[in-house]
Amino acid sequence: MASIPNPYLPQIGTVVKVIQETSNIKSLQVVLNDQERMNSFRFEPGQVAQLSVFGVGEATFVINSPPTRTEHLQFSVMRAGEVTARIHQLKEGDPIGVRGPLGNWFPYEEMKGKDILFIGGGIGMAPLRTLLLFMLDNRSDYGKITLLYGARTPDDLCYKEELQQWGQRDDMELILTVDREFPGWEKKVGLVPNVLRELAPSPKDKVAITCGPPIMIRFTLQALAELGFGDEQVVTTLERRMKCGVGLCGRCNIGTKYVCADGPVFTLAQLKELPPEL
């Protein structure tokens, strides 16, 4: 019998670095133990992987290092349940299971030549980081790049070192905001959708990519619509409880679509085709 690739079998990797991003978010940099597999690991920006801590289980995370930087795979993990709590206990040198890449990706080909507006909230910066770095690594393919990123408090912003660097680049614009005033905070204060309204970007030749907590997404989509962004110009990612990650276990469907296999990336136009079950 011809052997079928086993979609449930993770690769074994090693955590090479752990970064404490915020009080409840850590980033893990992982390399696969099999050097050949690591070298041939191909993925697209926005694709996810299932991380395994054996004995506890798996959870889904976006690969937030871009395919243009292949020394490791990075995942950012917010502590929320049993699996993520265990992942937070991992330290450098510990083994971890990696199953992926899975799912679809950002339609970056169709974004070529356009201005790009990233709108992120909290841990939602993770998928945006992938695409942003990918675009910065292919800078000439894209027009103006703007990142609006917000969190509850200054401490809740991820990738602080990179935010510094991005803020200094002259080929992109960075706008940071937190929900309310904090001593020493000199950037914007206010909820992401409100800051977006204030910035009032023109939708002309622009794509908006937004990821973040559901409530932020809801109001951001509203704001974008008010600003005149068409449904095709808005891209977001969905989250759903997942198990198999490959469209077999039935868990993550919204109507006819499986978030794990048909998503996680959807344009607003595609989202509107789905029945309302978010």
Binding site: M1, S3, I4, P5, N6, P7, Y8, L9, P10, I12, F54, G55, V56, G57, E58, A59, A80, G81, T84, G93, D94, P95, G97, P214, E239, R240, R241, K243, C244, V246, G247, L248, C249, G250, R251, N253, I254, G255, T256, A261, P275, P276, E277, L278
Partner: protein, 348 residues
């Protein structure tokens, strides 16, 4: 000499046939386990085989077990460097023994065809299911006496449907006319229990023609109709009685949703898959506490929607229900999926 594809099987020969087949295959047959319950069990001499009624539970778990190991893992401390932990992961074997399901019904076979569309058609294939499926020969009995809960003809199969079966049996005087549908079925006909059919072919033909089960549901346009009803109060109304027990999904030949969990014992353990049910609150509950299907109305909508709308839309019109009626018979509050579909057509 080519083995004829049509043979006669005397009812009295069945025990010896199953015994002989048992030397080369795992053989499952419907066994009477109590006055009211008939279940597929591995055949042993002396059990009472029941071939004239639908089994209480479908044949599904023979190919898709209620729980199975996918992987096993071991963590090992490096004796040289106790800080270092090594991990080994092994796949559970995907080599299934040759298996016969004797006495399935056309609805059982149709159930596996629904599974096939998901598990074997790609892009990702389930190797555990696939290997068992490939190794299984399905011997199906045509239903001369459909029950009043049977509505297979309404969903694109029927009491004499051969699709998905390898060998089909038509009940006639003193036994069955056996017809091979596939090579696997032909292989079984080589057993000496199958004898020349001769004049019985005609009787079987008449018997088949005599099997009548009118289609009772008009499902034309139902996939779109259910989508239209998505945001209405229809689902709340029809699911009001449901107590979310999940019986309907566990006994359903086409329900395949599963969970994956780890079972640890010290430094080693297993990753197992178990049947799950979209009728349970926990099914879609996210770590954040958010639940996209918080009430039974959304969950019931998903069960009916998956079978009669999403599956046919995704898989060339194939309805994800085989019409076996088990969910109707087993529901403690008598929810009848046929009635729900009729009401859906008429609603609003």
């Amino acid at each position: 000499m080519v083995t004829p594809e049509v043979r006669f099987l005397a009812a009295e020969k069945i025990p010896t046939l199953l015994k002989r087949l048992g030397e080369r295959y795992r053989v499952f047959a419907p066994v009477k386990v109590s006055e009211t319950t008939v279940l597929f069990q591995e055949y042993r001499e002396g059990v009472q085989i029941v071939l004239d009624r639908q089994t209480t539970a479908p044949a599904k778990e023979i190919i898709f077990p209620q729980t199975e190991r996918l992987l096993s893992y071991t963590y090992r401390k490096d004796p040289e460097d106790p800080q270092k932990i090594e991990l080994q992961v092994e796949e559970a074997p995907q080599s299934a023994p040759r298996t016969i399901i004797f006495g399935a019904r056309p609805c059982d076979a149709r159930g596996f065809r629904v599974f096939d569309s998901v598990f074997t058609a790609g892009p990702y294939e389930d190797p555990y299911y696939s290997s068992r499926r490939q190794q299984t020969t399905i011997v199906t009995i045509f239903c001369t006496q459909p029950q009043n809960t049977c509505f297979c003809t309404s969903v694109g199969t029927g009491p004499t449907d051969t699709e998905g079966s390898d060998l089909v049996l038509t009940p006639i005087t003193e036994g069955y006319l056996a017809e091979a549908i596939t090579e696997k079925g032909k292989e079984l006909l080589q057993d000496e229990a199958f004898v020349s059919a001769q004049e019985r072919v005609e009787e079987a033909q008449r018997a088949k023609e005599g099997i009548k089960l009118e289609s009772e549901l008009d499902l034309e346009g139902i996939p779109q109709r259910l989508m239209e009803l998505f945001s209405t109060d229809f689902w709340e109304r029809v699911s009001a009685k449901c107590i979310s027990c999940g019986a309907c999904t566990y006994l359903c030949p086409t329900c395949y949703c599963f969970n994956i969990t780890d079972e640890a014992a010290g430094l080693e353990g297993e990753r197992v898959r178990t049947w799950d049910s979209c009728m349970f609150y926990q099914y879609t509950l996210e770590a954040s506490g958010h639940n996209p299907r918080p009430t039974k109305a959304e969950r019931y909508r998903n069960r009916v929607g998956h079978k009669f709308s999403y599956h046919p839309i995704n898989y060339e019109g194939m309805i994800g229900c085989c019409g076996c009626g088990r969910c109707i018979k087993s529901c403690p509050v008598s929810l009848d999926i046929r009635q729900v579909l009729r009401e859906a057509k008429a609603y609003g």
